[in-house]
């Protein structure tokens, strides 16, 4: 069964992957990191990515529509995508069955990265991490 490190190593096998981290979005703590980080510091990157993820998760504007029974889904957002001239950042929220507020952060090179593929695969990895 996969643990945090196996999950991150899996993410690094995606084409164009530069770095990956598992980050808690309430505190900004990096629970695991692999590869490079933008700017060279995984801890700073984690804290900044967590701030972005928290805004997406907490603001009602980004939540899915109502109408489901049993309260709002947790987390309300699936992923956050940021693109710049040379890379993509993909933040994928890990589904919560107990109190954790973590997301996978994948940094992809724009030249060889495939954003659509990475989004699907990262979603599968996030689910596998907590559901086994």
């Amino acid at each position: 069964m996969p643990g945090i490190d196996e999950c991150l190593l899996d993410a690094m096998r995606l084409p164009g992957a530069l770095g990956a981290a598992l980050v808690d979005w309430t505190s900004g703590l990096a629970l695991g990191t692999v590869g490079e980080a933008p700017g060279g510091d995984h801890e700073t990157t984690a804290a900044e990515a967590a701030e972005l993820a928290r805004l997406a998760a907490e603001h009602r504007a980004f939540a899915a529509g109502d109408g489901e029974a049993g309260g709002p889904p947790d987390p309300p957002v699936e992923d956050v995508i940021v693109s710049n001239r040379d890379s993509y950042h993909l933040l994928r929220f890990v589904p919560a069955s107990f109190d954790h507020t973590v997301f996978l952060h994948l940094w992809l090179a724009r030249t060889d990265g495939n954003l659509a593929l990475a989004r699907i695969r990262l979603g599968e990895m996030a689910a596998r991490l907590v559901l086994g």
Partner: protein, 270 residues
């Protein structure tokens, strides 16, 4: 007319940020134990840290819910399954490993929960204390997850968390005191997680009690409470001077006590 120019005032001394020399800033004893690669249990006023060869493998604090509360309250496990595994193995770590081996809990979920609980409890265990810590050498019970964290990482994260709380709302009184609602109307924009915390503020519960009730990590709840305080929605309950159960005022202002504390800190740093 002559213009008298005065030299600009000298720059005020700037205290070095704790972050820059984080090593040893929280507990000199812990730094020393990490350097010598000690194995054992460090008992401090607000929690304990379990060390194996100088790395933090587990932490507990009465202020932070353990993995049993986190896993069962959120619905990842039912309480009966936990009780059964606990009875069979005699400890939370053994119980967690048994549940993973039997396939009722995924290894990834346990690792997430364990690390979340470790940093959560370490935050409280490394809080400033009024009594010295004690260290008991010797092997500890094997932790639920063998992955240990370097002491430096735990210390750095604890300092970062303090700064994070301070940045949200600089008054620590809401962390321990019973909380009351101020009566200000909460806007509809309150995120669901924070609303759940606000709903449990009743004048007697403290932030750690709310965390335990919701099955959430205590630090995340402290952050929610400080954000609610910053929004003017909650406040610490005013102390009732007639209440004999109320804890006595801290002696921190007594000069003799302050002196003794400084002596103690210096001795601990030796």
């Amino acid at each position: 007319m002559t213009v008298v120019t005065t030299p600009p005032p000298p720059r005020l001394p700037v205290r070095r940020k704790a972050r820059q020399d984080a090593r040893g800033a929280l507990s000199p004893m812990l730094t020393r134990l990490a350097d010598e690669g000690a194995t054992g249990v460090l008992v401090r006023e607000r929690g304990t840290l379990h060390l194996v060869e100088g790395r933090v493998v587990d932490a507990e604090s009465p202020y932070a819910p353990g993995i049993d509360v986190l896993l069962t309250a959120g619905g990842a496990l039912n309480a009966a399954a936990w009780q059964e595994a606990y009875a069979a193995t005699g400890g939370p770590a053994g119980a967690a490993r048994r549940l993973v081996d039997s396939g009722r809990l995924s290894a990834g979920a346990l690792e997430l929960c364990h690390l979340g609980a470790l940093f959560d409890a370490a935050y409280f265990a490394l809080a400033p204390s009024s009594t010295p810590g004690r260290f008991r050498y010797g092997t500890t019970a094997p932790p639920a997850v063998p992955r240990g964290m370097p002491v430096a990482v735990v210390e750095r994260e604890t300092l970062r968390r303090r700064a994070l709380l301070h940045g949200v709302w600089p008054h620590a009184a809401v962390d321990d005191a019973p909380l009351v609602r101020t009566g200000a109307p909460a806007g509809p924009a309150l995120p669901p997680r924070r609303r759940a915390v606000l709903d449990r503020v009743d004048g007697s519960r403290t932030a750690p009690a709310i965390a335990r009730e919701l099955g959430r990590r205590a630090f995340a709840t402290l952050l929610d409470v400080r954000r609610l305080a910053a929004a003017g929605l909650v406040a610490p309950a005013p102390a009732d001077p007639a209440d004999p159960k109320a804890p006595p005022r801290s002696g921190a202002t007594d000069p003799y006590v302050a002196l003794l504390k400084r002596v103690r800190d210096a001795l601990e740093a030796l």
